[in-house]
C-alpha cells in the first residue's frame, strides 16, 4: 500500500532533473551554513521550506498539463486583483508597496504569483488558438503581459517587473512572435528607457542603482558598497577559494544580504573559480534537461510552459550571478535553489513541478 503510494508519487518525477536540483540545493545549504555564521538555525529553517516546496513540486508533477491549464485564468485573475490590492493598500516596506496583508493567510507578494500565472495564461491562450495564430492573438497576449508588468513597475519594483515581463516575453517568443516586432520592440524599449531616464520616470533609488552599477567606486559607503564588497569577496577567492567557512569578507560582515541575494559572493569567496564552474555546470545540466523536456513536449501548452520555465531559471541564475559579480545592476533576484527565503523557493519548485508534469504526461497524450 505504502509502496504503491510511493511509486505513484515518484512515478512522475524526472530523476535527472530531481538529482541536479537536489545537488544544487545541497550545495546551497552548505553555503548558507557558512553565510549565516556557521549556525544551524537558518539551515534547518531553509531545509523545512525546501521540504514544503518539494512536496508542492511532487503534487504538481502529478497533475496533468491539461489540468494545470485550467488554473490559468483564475490564477491570473487573482494575481491581477492582488496587484491592484497592493497598489491600493499594500504594506509599505522601504518606500515600495510590494506586500499585501491578507487576513488568515499572511503577507503575500502578488508579483511572485505572476511569475507563474503570466506564462500560464499565455500558454493556455496560445494553445486555444493553435494552428490559427495571427497578429491579433499576439496583441492580446502582449496586453496580458503589459498589465501586470505595469502594476509591478508602479509598486515600484523594476527588477521583478522586468523578470515578469521576461517570462511573458519568452512565451511570446517561443510562440513565434514576428522577428520584426521583436526588433522593433527592442528599439522602442531602448527609447523608452532613455525617456524614462531623461524625464524622471524612474525613482531616485532606481537611478542610483543604475549609476552605481556603472561606477560603483563613486559611492563606497552605500549602494555601490554592496557591489564592491561582493567583487572583493569573489575576486579574493581566487582559483580554489579560501575554504568553507574561511571567507573573511563573509565572516567579518563586509557582505550585504549575504544569505539571500548576495549568497553567490560567499560561495565565490570560499570555493573560488572551481566552485563557480561546478555551479554553472550544474545549472547547465538542469537547464539542458529542461530544454530536452521542452523539445519533447507533446502539446503547445506543454512546450510553451516548459520553455518559459526553462528560460526563467536561466534568467534567475544569470541575472543573480551577473549582479553579484558586477556585470548587471543590482535587482532583487535570488540565486535559484541557493538563496535563503521561502517564497522564491516555492515558485521555483512549482516551475520544476510543471516541467516534470510536462515530461511525465507526454506519453499519455501521445498514446
Amino acid at each position: 500500500m505504502i509502496q504503491h503510494l510511493w511509486a505513484k508519487l515518484t512515478d512522475h518525477l524526472d530523476p535527472f532533473l530531481f538529482a541536479v536540483v537536489t545537488a544544487i540545493a545541497a550545495l546551497g545549504l552548505l553555503v548558507l551554513y557558512s553565510a549565516v555564521g556557521e549556525s544551524l538555525g537558518r539551515v534547518i529553517s531553509q531545509s523545512q521550506k525546501m521540504a514544503v516546496a518539494v512536496a508542492i513540486m511532487i503534487v504538481i508533477a502529478n497533475l496533468s498539463p491539461q489540468f494545470i491549464a485550467r488554473f490559468a485564468v483564475p490564477l491570473y485573475a487573482i494575481g491581477i486583483l492582488l496587484l491592484l490590492g497592493v497598489a491600493l493598500g499594500g504594506e509599505v516596506v522601504k518606500g515600495a508597496r510590494r506586500w499585501l496583508k491578507i487576513p488568515g493567510v499572511g503577507n503575500v507578494q502578488p508579483s511572485e504569483i505572476m511569475k507563474i500565472a503570466l506564462p500560464l495564461i499565455l500558454a493556455w491562450y496560445f494553445e486555444r488558438h493553435e494552428g490559427s495564430m495571427n497578429w491579433r492573438n499576439f496583441l492580446v497576449a502582449s496586453a496580458l503581459v503589459v498589465i501586470p508588468f505595469g502594476l509591478v513597475v508602479r509598486q515600484p519594483d523594476l527588477g521583478t517587473a522586468l523578470l515578469i515581463g521576461a517570462c511573458g516575453f519568452y512565451v511570446l517568443f517561443l510562440a513565434g512572435l514576428d522577428w520584426r516586432i521583436i526588433v522593433g520592440g527592442a528599439i522602442l524599449g531602448g527609447l523608452g528607457l532613455w525617456a524614462a531616464w531623461e524625464f524622471n520616470w524612474l525613482h531616485d533609488y532606481q537611478k542610483e542603482r543604475v549609476l552605481n552599477f556603472i561606477n560603483p567606486e563613486n559611492d563606497t559607503q552605500d549602494a555601490g558598497w554592496h557591489t564592491i564588497q561582493a567583487a572583493i569577496a569573489i575576486g579574493s577567492g581566487g582559483l580554489f577559494g579560501k575554504g568553507w567557512g574561511n571567507g573573511t569578507q563573509t565572516h567579518l560582515e563586509f557582505l550585504p544580504e549575504k544569505h539571500t541575494d548576495f549568497i553567490f559572493a560567499v560561495y565565490g569567496e570560499e570555493f573560488g573559480l572551481l566552485g563557480g564552474v561546478v555551479l554553472i555546470v550544474l545549472y547547465l545540466l538542469f537547464i539542458g534537461r529542461s530544454f530536452v523536456i521542452t523539445a519533447n513536449a507533446s502539446t503547445l501548452f506543454g512546450r510553451l510552459m516548459a520553455g518559459s520555465m526553462t528560460l526563467m531559471f536561466f534568467t534567475y541564475a544569470f541575472v543573480n550571478i551577473g549582479m553579484v559579480t558586477g556585470m548587471l545592476p543590482v535587482v532583487g533576484v535570488p540565486l535559484p535553489f541557493v538563496s535563503f527565503g521561502g517564497t522564491a523557493l516555492i515558485t521555483l519548485f512549482i516551475a520544476v513541478g510543471i516541467l516534470m508534469s510536462v515530461q511525465s504526461h507526454r506519453k499519455l497524450v501521445n498514446s
Binding site: 575576486g235 569578507q249 573559480l273 551577473g322
Partner: protein, 641 residues
C-alpha cells in the same frame, strides 16, 4: 485536416528553431559568467585579495607614555595617570546642547566642562571625538556604559592624563601640554615625525614640556588587528609596542622653588638661582604663575580670559621674557670692567660732591652733598652713582659692550626653554640701527648706562647668569633647567651640560676687589638690614631701576601709582669664598631693591643653607589633595614598571 497538420508541423519546426536559439543564448550567457569569474578570480585576483586584506586588517596606533619630569631630588613635577574620559564626537551629533543635556542626566556635566568642550570643538573642528568630561569615577563609567545605546557618538576611553602635582609652583618652568593644533600637526608632518605621533592627541605647549618635546614624547607603537565591517576588533594579529618618552631630571630644587615663590607673596617678579659650578638652575620663579593642570584637557574660556586679560600678566615668563634696566646691580660688573680695561684701579678714588657734571649735563646722586672720598670697593658698598657716572663717561662704548657680552648681558643665555628675550646691550652699532635719525651714542647716554639705566634692557635670567659667571670667577656654564635625560627603558642617562661653555679671561685680583665690594654691601651697605644675622657669608648688590623718568626731580614712591614705581633688584652669591649659589631677585614695581628684593633673596639663601627649612617647605607644600594625587601617581609609576 492535413493542412492543419502541416501547419502544426511548421509551427513545431519554428518552435524548435527558436528553442535552439534560446539554448545558444543560454550557453553564451553562462560562458559570459564564466568569463567574469576568470576576470575577477584569476586576472584581478591579486588586486581583490589585497583589498580583502585591507578590509580585514586595521592598524591601531598606540600612543606612547610621556616621560616623567622630576626635580633634582626626584620629586615628581609632571607625570601621567590613567583615567576614564567621556568623549563625544561632535560630527555625529545634530545638536550639541541637547546631547550634552542628555549626558548630563547620566553623569554630572559642569558648566565649565560644557564651555571647555565647545571651545575645544571650535578650535579644532575635527572629526574625531573630543573629551567632554575627564576623570570619571568607576560608578560614572558604569552608568554611561549602561546607557550607551541612548548616546550615539559618545564613548568612554581610558587614556593617560598629564598631571602637575605642584600646580602653580614652577609652572613657568614645567609648562604644560595641550591638544595638538593644526599648525603643530603640520610641523610634525614637516619634520617627518608623523609616525611617532600616531594616536597622540597631546603635545608640549610651553616650558620644558615644549622644549623637550622630542625627549618626552617617545614614539607610537601599533597593533595590527582583524576587524569586521563595523571596524570592531575581532582579534589581535600582531603588536609593536610604543617607545615611552625619556624621563627628565631637572636641576631645579622644588623645595627651594617653593620657598622662593612663597617669599614673593602677592608681588609680581622673578627669581633665578644658579649653581655657578655647574650652571644648574636651582630655582626659576615667575610670579604670578598659573595652574598648568587647567590646560591639559583644554582650558575653559572663562579661565583662559582671566589669565590672558589679567593686568598681572600671569602667562608672561618674567625671568626669560621680561626686559628691565638692571639699575645699580650693574655696578659690580662696571667695576670689574674698569679694572680689566685698565681705566681704574681699585684704590683710585674720587671726591663725590653729590652730582656729576659733563658739559651742559648734570646728573644727581641719591645722597645730597655726596659720599665724599669714594674708592672702588666703597662705590659698590654704598652704590655711589657719581663714581659710575664719571667712569662711564671715560669708556669706549664698544669696548664696554664687548666686555659685558662675555657675561651674557643683552645676549640669549641659551637656557633650555623657549621664548628667551635678547635684551639690549647698547653699542654704537645698536644705536645707529635703533635710532637712524640720531645714530650717534652720546656721552650723556653713556653716563646713564653706567648706573644700569637708560637703554640697558636685560632679563632677570641674564642678571642671574652674569652673577653666576662672576661667582665662578669667569668660568661660564650654560644655564639649564634639565640636568639629566634618562631613557626610561634602559635606565641610561646623560647630563645636558657636562662641561663649561667658555671662560672669561679675568685677573682674579680684579674679581677679589668686586667680591669685597659685594661683601661690604651685605655687612655694611645697602644689603645690611636684609642680611642681618645671616648664618653664612654672602655678597650682594641692590638695585632700583626707574620705570619713569623722574630721576631728575623728587621721586616719592607713595605718590607714584603702583605700576610706575621703580623695579627692585637684588643680586647675591654665597658663600663668599667659594659660591655655591648665585641668584637674582627682582620685584616688578617693588620700589627699593634693599627693601623689596633683598629680603626675598635672604629667605631663599637661608633655606638653601638650612636643610631643615628646605624639607619643611615641601612638607607644607603637599596638601591632603596633593598627597592623594601623588599617591595615585606612585601607583601609576609602579604600574608603568
Amino acid at each position: 485536416m492535413s493542412a492543419e497538420l502541416r501547419n502544426h508541423d511548421r509551427e513545431l519546426f519554428w518552435f524548435q528553431r527558436r528553442l535552439s536559439l534560446a539554448a545558444v543564448l543560454v550557453v553564451i550567457g553562462f560562458l559570459a559568467l564564466l568569463g567574469r569569474f576568470v576576470y575577477l578570480q584569476v586576472i584581478q585576483h591579486k588586486h581583490f585579495a589585497t583589498l580583502a586584506e585591507a578590509n580585514r586588517i586595521d592598524i591601531q596606533p598606540e600612543a606612547p607614555n610621556r616621560g616623567i619630569i622630576t626635580d633634582r631630588n626626584g620629586v615628581v613635577l609632571a607625570s601621567n595617570y590613567s583615567a576614564y574620559t567621556l568623549e563625544m564626537n561632535p560630527q555625529k551629533i545634530a545638536d550639541l546642547d541637547v546631547a550634552i543635556d542628555e549626558i548630563g542626566k547620566i553623569v554630572e556635566i559642569s558648566a565649565r566642562d560644557r564651555r571647555r568642550f565647545k571651545r575645544l570643538y571650535e578650535e579644532f573642528r575635527t572629526n574625531e571625538s573630543l573629551p567632554l568630561k575627564s576623570r570619571l569615577t568607576d560608578e560614572e563609567v558604569a552608568r554611561v556604559a549602561a546607557n550607551r545605546y541612548r548616546l550615539p557618538g559618545v564613548e568612554i576611553k581610558a587614556r593617560l592624563f598629564r598631571q602637575y602635582p605642584f600646580g602653580e609652583v614652577a609652572s613657568h618652568v614645567v609648562g604644560y601640554i595641550g591638544r595638538i593644533s593644526q599648525s603643530e600637526k603640520e610641523r610634525i608632518e614637516q619634520q617627518e615625525l608623523s609616525a611617532s605621533y600616531k594616536g597622540s592627541d597631546y603635545i608640549g605647549k610651553r616650558g620644558i614640556e615644549l622644549s623637550y618635546e622630542r625627549d618626552l614624547h617617545g614614539s607610537a607603537g601599533s597593533t595590527e588587528v582583524e576587524v569586521d565591517a563595523n571596524r570592531r576588533v575581532v582579534r589581535v594579529l600582531s603588536r609593536k609596542p610604543s617607545v615611552i618618552g625619556n624621563n627628565l631630571q631637572l636641576s631645579l630644587d622644588i623645595r627651594l622653588q617653593k620657598i622662593a615663590e612663597d617669599a614673593f607673596g602677592n608681588k609680581r617678579g622673578a627669581l633665578v638661582a644658579i649653581e655657578p659650578a655647574t650652571g644648574d638652575v636651582l630655582a626659576f620663579v615667575s610670579k604670578p604663575g598659573y595652574d598648568p593642570n587647567l590646560f591639559v584637557d583644554g582650558i575653559d574660556p572663562q579661565s583662559w580670559d582671566a589669565l590672558r586679560d589679567s593686568p598681572d600678566k600671569p602667562m608672561l615668563n618674567r625671568p626669560l621674557q621680561g626686559g628691565y634696566p638692571p639699575g645699580s646691580t650693574y655696578k659690580p660688573f662696571m667695576a670689574l670692567m674698569a679694572q680689566e680695561l685698565g681705566v681704574r684701579t681699585a684704590s683710585q678714588a674720587i671726591n663725590d660732591p653729590g652730582y656729576f657734571r659733563l658739559g651742559a649735563g648734570h646728573w644727581r646722586d641719591d645722597k645730597v652733598g655726596g659720599h665724599g672720598i669714594v674708592d672702588m670697593v666703597k662705590s659698590i658698598v654704598i652704590s655711589c652713582d657719581t663714581y659710575y657716572y664719571q667712569l662711564a663717561s671715560e669708556l669706549d662704548i664698544d669696548e664696554w659692550s664687548g666686555f659685558m657680552k662675555q657675561f651674557g648681558f643683552g645676549q640669549k643665555t641659551g637656557i633650555d626653554i623657549d621664548g628667551e628675550l635678547t635684551g639690549i646691550l647698547p653699542s654704537r652699532e645698536w644705536k645707529a640701527k635703533r635710532f637712524p635719525k640720531d645714530p650717534k651714542l652720546h656721552v650723556g647716554d653713556q653716563v646713564s648706562l653706567g648706573i644700569g639705566q637708560g637703554f640697558n634692557t636685560f632679563t632677570p635670567m641674564q642678571m642671574a647668569y652674569a652673577t653666576a659667571v662672576l661667582a665662578n670667577r669667569g668660568v661660564a656654564f650654560k644655564p639649564h633647567l634639565v640636568k639629566r635625560v634618562q631613557d626610561a627603558r634602559t635606565g641610561e642617562s646623560r647630563l645636558t651640560q657636562p662641561s663649561p661653555a667658555y671662560t672669561v679671561p679675568l685677573k682674579q685680583a680684579h674679581v677679589d676687589v668686586v667680591l669685597k665690594g659685594l661683601e661690604g654691601v651685605v655687612t655694611a651697605g645697602t644689603g645690611r638690614t636684609a642680611f642681618l644675622n645671616a648664618k653664612y657669608s654672602s655678597g650682594g648688590k641692590t638695585g632700583t631701576a626707574q620705570v619713569f623718568g623722574l630721576r631728575g626731580g623728587d621721586y616719592k614712591a607713595s605718590q607714584v601709582t603702583e605700576r610706575l614705581r621703580d623695579h627692585a633688584w637684588y643680586i647675591a652669591l654665597a658663600p663668599l669664598d667659594s659660591p655655591k649659589i648665585a641668584l637674582v631677585a627682582f620685584v616688578e614695581n617693588g620700589g627699593f631693591g634693599a627693601e623689596a628684593a633683598a629680603p626675598i633673596a635672604r629667605k631663599v639663601l637661608d633655606a638653601y643653607f638650612d636643610p631643615a627649612l628646605l624639607d619643611a617647605a615641601i612638607k607644607k607644600a603637599v596638601s591632603p589633595a596633593e598627597a592623594l594625587a601623588s599617591a595615585s601617581l606612585q601607583r601609576e609609576v609602579k604600574r608603568a614598571r
